[in-house]
Amino acid sequence: MGNTLQDDALPNNNTLLGADELVLNMGPQHPSTHGVLRVKLKLDGERVRGTECVIGYLHRGVEKIAENRTYQQFAPYVDRMDYVAAVSNGLGYCEAVEKLLNVEAPPRARVIRTILTELQRIASHLVWLGTHALDIGALTPLFYCMREREEILKIFEKYCGARLTTHAFRIGGLQYEAYDGFEKDVERFCLDFERRIQEYVDLLTGNSIWIGRTRNVGILNAADCIALGASGPILRAAGVKWDLRKAQPYAAYDQYKFEIPVGTNGDTYDRYMVRIEEMRQSRLICLQAIEKIPEGAIMGKVGKVIKPPAGEVYHSIEAPKGILGYYIVSDGGTQPYRVRIRPPSFINLQALDKMVRGHLVADVVAIIGTLDIVLGEVDR
């Protein structure tokens, strides 16, 4: 780690062989860096000898903003970090503050939260699948994925009026009751979705080009994953059967049965298979959850003004991209003294260097895709 490219200036291309290494500047405006990631690649021919990530183009100082907002005011900001999985961000934040307050959301709220979060996981994985396939040159899955994601976003829209940055949850529970027909919508989506997943599988899983492009590409074994802090599907693809939803259940996950898919090889293909299977499991969780949503209140005992007692708390959830943690320090006031967000994308991105060394430029694209980063979250 910590490789530095000394020579920042790009050499004239007339001197390609004169310079042993070619520094290729990928991004921040590049079609497949998923936003504004900039990667400086040290190339030997087309083989990558080293990388340096330059990030921060999307930095908005979210953690600083938190110090100047009340607890409720800050909640919408977290949606804007991982904007393809806003609901998960909100869940993590609300639960962290609830822990700080020592309150619990009522059971009904927790089940609805679980359903929405799992739908969001599917949506996030769909965005990942579409863009990842697009990076590898398959144009069509993107549109199929967007078609299904649209159904999920419609449910979100019906539930809280927003599609992308939903701010669906409130500290202490929910603001909105599930709308009439919520269960039916979710059920319809879930029943339909199995068939839809099969479409992606048909297009990609057995395709020899897809296998050639992903198998043995960007291998990250379990030890490396843990050392580099890589979590989520990346860790599971390396064969570690670990999921925060099982290890330290939050929301209502302890009530549902689901499997943790794991890979063996830790390569791009395994990560693909793990995420596909995760979508299936999320679908199963949703189906179980809508079976019986408990009746009752949706808001816990939280006052209009949130003033947690001084102290600190760390709470993390299994976001679609990995461990999403919130470390919140309170000084007893209405505004948090410090909010630290552990963004999974940021930490997963750190593994890029290790994964791409020795691979070709084309693999860099595939590996950035398989890391499933969202720059809004990396840069915060």
């Binding site: 921060g56 600083k64 843990i226 670990w242 001084a310 102290g311 003294y337 552990r342 930490i347």
Partner: protein, 210 residues
């Protein structure tokens, strides 16, 4: 040795305001005075004495300054001089193999104004432990990169946001903010106008754009 849970020690001993002590934030006429010190937290934290902390105390003795529990989440306050040894011990013997997060909190009125927070997770035991390392303003704590490679970017972020330099870090430079940025934003005395007025002075040739 200060910890935020101990109100008597929270107020700084020296009378100089903390702003003057921070080398990376140049004094600016537009800089606001430091925000008022946070109210001393009520003692929600309770001393912790379980097997784990006993083992740590046994091994490191005085380097474990305190062992507390806050909302059932345990944490150790440790001496920054012993950081590396304790980290190594945590990883290898206590099996805290994942450095889940590494960050800092600024307490400007305290003698050692920063707390480094290392959040450790153990896959075998499914437990978390927080290490809290008080660090003074000019101090250079040891880098954890060799123990947990994931600390690389996290330490860069701490440096970027708080100006804490780590000794032994392979490539310590700003990560989220541009290289020419002034000051370290997550310090409590950071003034957002600082950057703005510097830019205005440099590019427009006037004293302040506000």
């Amino acid at each position: 040795m200060a910890d935020d849970s101990k109100p008597p020690q929270d107020s700084p001993a020296s009378s100089a305001p903390p702003v003057a002590k921070t080398p990376a934030a140049p004094a600016s006429p537009a800089a606001k005075p430091a925000p008022p010190a946070p109210k001393p937290p009520a003692p929600v934290q309770v001393p912790l004495d379980n097997e784990l902390t006993r083992r740590y105390r046994e091994k490191f003795g005085p380097a474990i300054l305190d062992a507390l529990e806050d909302r059932k989440q345990p944490y150790l306050v440790i001496d920054s001089a012993q950081l590396k040894d304790i980290a190594l011990y945590s990883r290898d013997h206590e099996k805290f193999d994942l450095l889940e997060d590494f960050t800092a909190v600024d307490w400007p009125r305290r003698e050692k104004r920063f707390d480094l927070i290392a959040i450790l997770y153990s896959f075998p035991h499914n437990t978390r432990l927080r290490l809290k390392i008080p660090v003074a303003a000019g101090e250079r704590p040891t880098s954890l990169v060799e123990i947990w490679p994931t600390a690389n970017w996290l330490e860069r972020e701490i440096f970027d946001m708080f100006g804490i330099e780590f000794s032994g870090h392979p490539d310590l430079k700003r990560i989220l903010l541009p290289d020419g940025w002034l000051g370290h934003p997550l310090r409590k005395d950071y003034d957002i106008l600082l950057q703005d007025s510097a830019w205005v002075r440099e590019n427009l040739g006037i004293e302040s754009g506000q």
